[in-house]
């Protein structure tokens, strides 16, 4: 079973080879792409057999996210729904690959083209095989970017660049819904695994979500309704439902094979696929289903009418695609999921075929894509008209066959709203009528224009005939498609039985007895379709294009629908431009003048404060203070000098000096000469007397003996000392100084 992993991984390998081997490949990209996709188709067939005989199986891949209780394990899940879509995707993709290998010859980005369509095929395969919602979301977005890259394939054209941006942005707005739906699903169910969710959906009917609780409102909405609506919002974007349809007509800027593959057969079917995949959840919410049916019906009606007025054949086909997908969505909305899938498969094959034929036709009259605003007319294209006509007729008759023949008609009767049935009938018939008409018109406009308005053709000769899709081969391919289609129609009940395990039924509401009159309805529907074809033919051949008639009312309506009811202009005027203006205003005013001014203001205020401080406080205040102080000090000093110093202190000092001198003189004269001198002289005279007495008595008689004895000893010691320590000049000086100090000290002591 594991080898079915090759279904997505062969295209992935092709992408890697094409991207890495780009410098060496030359114009050989298709040699990698075609085998990979074709093999993938082969494996899809095997998977189909496997599912037919053994039922659904799954292949685990790896763990993407593990964060607490949020565990996302990637894996492939293959069931009845998956294999059918796998066949569609890989089948159409193989055909488109082969077609492109001729169609794109001479393109400067040949290998890039093949790399991107292989990447697209890979992501679409992964989308239909994914086992959890997050994985689905991831590949949903990767498909979107592939679409972006292919629309901008000829990005040198301004219109193409704008179309690419527009396509992605419209989708990304819608994908907010899808992403939010995924998050809501996780917070409601606690898992993102699709099968687990679908199994648990029935028990979640009581759960409610209070979305706007922050406003204080207490409006609780059923979780299943909310989840379905948000998921459906994503589907509306990818499947180009009103009001998100605006990107698809512009996506026709892509090369025609891309239009066939992505913008007709596969990617735009992702919306109905999502609804069918989640159908057990969807049917739990009648409100959401009504919404889905209304959106689908509105889109179908609107787009088919608009497609009648378009002058660009690819745009016309684009609007018809929108209309047909609206049809599928509507059938999902009324609960006929199997019908939707059936129509998706048939429409995918047919629309791809129509687009490829258009590419053929355009190329063979030498018009490069649809640069010419008017249709190429009546060139040498007659041989390839028959396949186009037959395809157109089949497309015209398919919806009535599908919608009004199957046993699923009872399902829309099971809708809780009584008027739904009638709405559905009216919408159904109108759509059948108009789609029959525009298909006829497309064919006629392209090939049977009256000769009077014939295209003056100077470049009819230089044609590149695609290898497999030359006019000779086309009827054969058509025949195959026709046979497959009719086989499917014959095997209708088998088909319904086959898909029954994967779709949800609202079993409780199915009435016991199926309504009668199916045959009548079928005949009626086919009649309406044939009527549409007839009216289309007549209006075009007779009124030369404008079937709205010549009345002013008719013309007005014609202009309205020609301009697609001004959706693009309204978005431009009310969404795009205001957003840009708002952002510029926000930047200029709020960011520059408020937030930026905040820090600059703080800085300026700081600098201002600093300057003020410097000027006022520093210069005037402190400086003034200091200068003033200085001046005052000088003045003070002068005053001090003049007054205090000269007058006061000087006088005092001088007076003191004079008095001191007088006092000194008085001291000298009175105290010194008269007092002290006399005392000293007196003491001296008396001392002399005492000394004489002492000398006579003590010295000569007593001390002399001692002295002589000591003298002898001292002489001996002195001799010794003289040997040891010769007397030097320093000694003398030191001794002198010593005695001087002692003497002065004594004198001082005595005197003071």
């Amino acid at each position: 079973m594991t080898f079915f992993i090759l279904i997505p991984f062969l295209p992935l390998m092709a992408v890697l080879l094409l991207v890495l081997g780009k410098p060496w490949l030359g114009e050989q990209g298709h040699k990698i792409g075609i085998p990979a996709i074709a093999l993938s188709f082969g494996f899809s067939l095997m998977a189909f057999m496997q599912v037919v005989s053994h039922g659904a199986f799954s292949i685990p891949l790896y763990r993407l996210i593990h964060s607490g209780d949020l565990v996302v394990d990637l894996g492939l899940y293959v069931d009845q729904l998956t294999v059918l879509l796998l066949l569609l995707v890989t089948g159409v993709s193989s055909v488109v690959h082969v077609y492109s290998s001729r169609y794109m010859i001479g393109d400067p980005r040949y290998n890039r083209f093949f790399a991107v369509i292989a990447l697209f095929t890979f992501s679409m395969i992964m989308l239909v095989m994914s086992n959890n919602l997050l994985m689905m979301y991831v590949f949903w977005e990767i498909m979107g970017i592939c679409s972006y890259l292919l629309i901008s394939h000829w990005g040198e054209r301004k219109s193409s660049a704008q179309a690419a941006t527009k396509a992605f942005l419209v989708n990304s707005v819608a994908d907010v819904g899808l992403g939010f739906g995924v998050i809501l699903t996780y917070s409601t169910f606690g898992t993102l695994d699709i099968q687990t969710i679908l199994a648990a959906a029935g028990s979640m009917q009581g759960t409610t979500i209070n979305l706007f609780g922050w406003l204080g409102s207490d409006v609780s909405i059923q979780a299943v309704t909310l989840i379905t609506l948000f998921l459906f919002m994503g589907a509306m974007g990818k499947s180009a439902q009103v009001p998100f349809h605006v990107w698809l007509p512009f996506a026709m800027e892509a090369p025609t094979p891309v239009s066939a593959l992505i913008h007709a057969a596969t990617m735009v079917n992702a919306g109905p696929f999502l609804l069918v995949r989640m159908s057990p959840l969807v049917i739990l919410s009648p409100e959401a289903m009504i919404f889905i049916a209304v959106i689908g019906g509105m889109t179908a009606l609107f787009a088919t009418v608009v497609s009648l007025t378009q002058v660009d054949i690819k745009r016309m086909l684009a609007f018809s695609t929108i209309g047909q997908i609206g049809f599928m969505i509507m059938t999902c909305g009324v609960g006929a999921f199997v019908v939707s899938i059936f129509h998706m498969l048939a429409h995918g094959c047919l629309k791809a075929f129509l687009f490829l034929s258009t590419g053929n036709a355009l190329r063979s009259v030498g018009v490069h894509e649809h640069e010419s605003p008017s249709f190429p007319r009546h060139g040498d294209v007659t041989p390839s008209i028959w396949p186009f006509v037959s395809g157109a007729l089949l497309l015209a008759c398919l919806p009535p066959f599908l919608l009004f023949s199957g046993p699923y008609e009872q399902l829309w009767m099971a809708q809780p709203l009584a008027s739904t049935q009638w709405t559905f009938w009216i919408l159904g018939f109108l759509t059948v009528f108009f789609s029959a008409m525009y298909v006829m018109r497309g064919v006629l406009v392209l090939f049977y224009q009256p000769v009077s308005t014939a295209y003056v053709n100077g470049m009819g000769g230089q044609t590149i005939q695609p290898r497999f899709f030359s006019p000779i081969h086309l009827p054969g391919i058509l025949a195959i498609i026709g046979i497959v289609g009719s086989l499917l129609l014959i095997l209708w009940s088998w088909f319904a039985e086959f898909l029954s395990p994967v779709v949800g039924y609202r079993t409780a509401l199915i009435p016991e007895e199926p309504s009668s009159g199916t045959g009548l309805q079928l005949i009626l529907a086919v009649a309406v379709a044939v009527g549409g074809v007839a009216v289309g033919y007549v209006s075009l051949t007779k009124f030369a294009g404008s079937w709205f008639g010549e009345s002013s009312m008719g013309k007005r309506w014609y202009v309205h629908f020609l301009n697609k009811l001004y959706f693009d202009e309204m978005y431009e005027a009310y969404v795009v431009l205001p957003t840009l203006q708002f952002s510029r205003w926000l930047w200029r005013v709020v960011d520059r003048q408020v937030f930026d001014a905040l820090i600059l203001g703080i800085a300026n205020v700081s600098v201002g404060t600093a300057k003020w401080l410097w000027r006022v406080v520093d210069l005037r205040g402190i400086d003034g203070l200091v200068v003033g102080l200085g001046r005052n000090s000088v003045g003070m000093a002068g005053w001090l000098w003049r007054v205090v110093d000269l007058h006061g202190i000087d006088r005092v000092v001088v007076g003191l000096g004079q008095r001191s001198v007088g006092f000194a003189r008085w001291l000298w004269q009175v105290v010194d000469l008269r007092g002290v001198d006399r005392v000293v002289v007196g003491i001296g005279q008396q001392s002399m007397g005492i000394a004489n007495w002492l000398w006579k008595i003590i010295d000569i008689k007593v001390l002399d003996k001692h002295t002589n004895r000591q003298g002898e000893q001292a002489e001996a010691a002195g001799n010794m000392r003289q040997e040891l320590e010769p007397r030097t000049l320093q000694h003398h000086l030191l001794v002198m100084i010593f005695w001087l100090i002692v003497g002065m000290g004594l004198l001082f002591w005595f005197v003071v």
């Binding site: 990304s172 998050i183 209070n210 937030f595």
Partner: protein, 502 residues
């Protein structure tokens, strides 16, 4: 030798850039200066891979811890270690620095030595900031990162560089001042220690929590930057040389987010919960506002810079919902933003090197002359707005899932921000890449050289790898984030009513 590598692994990582600075101081040949700088950054990258190899994913605590007393009087240590939260940011730093050296190989020709020294200085300082276990060490190196950035802007920047440099420094210094106050506050309140782990264990009084949290928050909000404090970012980013822009956007902004996770949440859980509603609304506002701002820009680098404001909104949104998804998403978003925005600045730098113009209107039709470049540029741009399959998507998705537990309206508004992101990026691509070449300069551009390819290819591979297989990265931080969330869980019950409970 063996013990140096096992016991001082982080120190060796920190030392290498500084050693490199010392070595290039003595080299005169410009070519060799570049080679040595590249060698050092690559060496650090290899070492960080070794760090990854030795890291125990099941352990939520700090690993490779080294402690050394530094200024014992104030209880200041040299302490480093990594846990699951910082590991990825260290890896991001070492990953981006070689690209900074490579992308300035040809474009920086004056004062090559100082320029390379600046890059190495920033790298070393950033590794310390992300691994520091000591607040003082953290603060010091936080300051150090500012200086080389300032010089990078004013010496090698664009025409408005002086004003941009001054604004950058003004903002950074105000932030630092507040951060210093916060650090002193927590030092005093937390028992006079700078040990981050010890401080995280303490409980603080409500008043202290309130004020210190506010101070920390303001400092980190300026660095991150959050909404009203973001205006330094576009100017600094657009005027800085390519390497400077990559460092600023890739690594420096992450210091803010890291600060929230390392300080605000574990230390002040109650204050975090009190402030959370305001911060969440501010984050949502930043996401949308940044988108509008980017839409209005006519300057490529400013556009990328404003997109950073928007992306950083997701980081704070994820952190302050306090649950596993949100915080893991926020950390992933930081890493992814580092890679994608770094790559975008790299690519814009490559354009600027050729044309010397940053204005979108001067381009158009680049696809025709530089197909290889355009392939990478487109990849980086779509990764920047979070295309599923590229790395940003995983981070944003986890943050949104985390937010959905708080409020659905915030989720919707943030998703609106993503639409705006797609709008400005695709519109930019439309005007730069698609269309016809409008002037002869564009039609004579040469495609990427081998050296330039060597810078963009690894980043492109990383973008796709993380986008398609993020579980290894999530495993790295799982244990640490879980620990943090459990720590927060007990306070979370009394979340105020400002946020709708679903």
């Amino acid at each position: 030798m063996n013990t140096i590598f096992t016991e001082h692994f982080l120190s060796v990582m920190i030392a290498i850039p500084f050693l490199g600075m010392a070595i290039i101081a003595f080299i005169h040949d410009q070519e060799w200066i570049r080679r040595v700088a590249l060698g050092c950054t690559l060496g650090d990258l290899v070492l960080s891979l070794g760090l990854l190899n030795g890291f125990d994913f099941s352990n939520h605590g700090m690993q490779f811890v080294e402690r050394m007393a530094w200024m014992p009087t104030f209880n200041i240590q040299y302490a480093v270690g990594v846990d699951g939260i910082s590991l990825l940011l260290v890896l991001l730093t070492t990953l981006l620095c070689p690209f900074c050296v490579l992308c300035s190989w040809k474009s920086i020709t004056t004062r090559v030595r100082s320029f390379m020294a600046m890059i190495l200085l920033v790298e070393g300082a950033m590794i310390v900031v992300f691994t520091a276990l000591d607040l003082f060490l953290f603060f010091m190196l936080w300051e150090v990162t500012m200086i080389p950035m300032y010089f990078m802007i004013i010496l090698w920047g664009g025409p408005q560089r002086i004003a941009a440099g001054i604004k950058f420094v003004l903002y950074s210094l105000s932030g630092s001042l507040i951060l210093l106050l916060a650090i002193l506050g927590v030092y005093v309140e937390g028992g006079r220690t700078f040990d981050i782990l010890a401080l995280a264990e303490k409980t603080y009084s409500p008043d202290a929590q309130f004020w210190i949290f506010l101070a920390f928050f303001l400092a980190f909000a300026i660095k991150l930057p959050m909404l009203p404090f973001h205006t330094w970012l576009p100017d600094a980013h657009s005027e800085a040389p390519t390497a400077g822009s990559i460092l600023l956007a890739g690594v420096l902004l992450k210091m803010g987010g890291y600060g929230f996770l390392r300080f605000c949440l574990p230390m002040f859980p109650e204050a975090s919960v009190t402030f959370a509603p305001y911060i969440l609304w501010l984050s949502v506002a930043a996401i949308v506002y940044g988108g509008y701002m980017a839409l209005a820009q006519s300057d490529l680098k400013k556009l990328v810079a404003y997109s950073s404001v928007s992306h950083m909104g997701f980081v704070t949104l994820g952190i302050f919902v306090f649950n596993n998804h949100g915080i893991q998403g926020a950390i992933l978003q930081m890493v992814n933003h580092g890679i994608t925005t770094g790559a975008l600045f790299l690519a814009v730098g490559q354009l600027y090197d050729r044309t010397h113009s940053r204005l979108i209107q001067d381009y158009g039709g680049v696809q025709k002359t530089m197909p290889q470049f355009v392939a990478f540029f487109c990849l980086f741009s779509v990764a920047s707005f979070g295309l599923p399959g590229t790395c940003n998507f995983i981070g944003e998705f986890l943050v949104l899932v985390g937010t959905s537990f708080e409020s659905y309206v915030m989720v919707l508004l943030a998703m609106g921000g993503i639409v705006l992101a797609a709008a400005y990026m695709l519109w930019m691509l439309q005007r730069v890449v698609l269309g016809q070449p409008q002037n002869p300069t564009i039609s004579q551009l040469t495609d990427l050289s081998m050296r330039e390819l060597a810078t963009v290819v690894p980043l492109a591979v990383l973008i796709l790898w993380i986008g398609l297989y993020p579980s290894p990265l999530m495993e790295m931080m799982d244990a640490s984030v879980m620990h943090l969330v459990q720590h927060m869980a007990e306070y979370q019950s009394h979340l105020p009513d400002l946020v709708a409970i679903r």
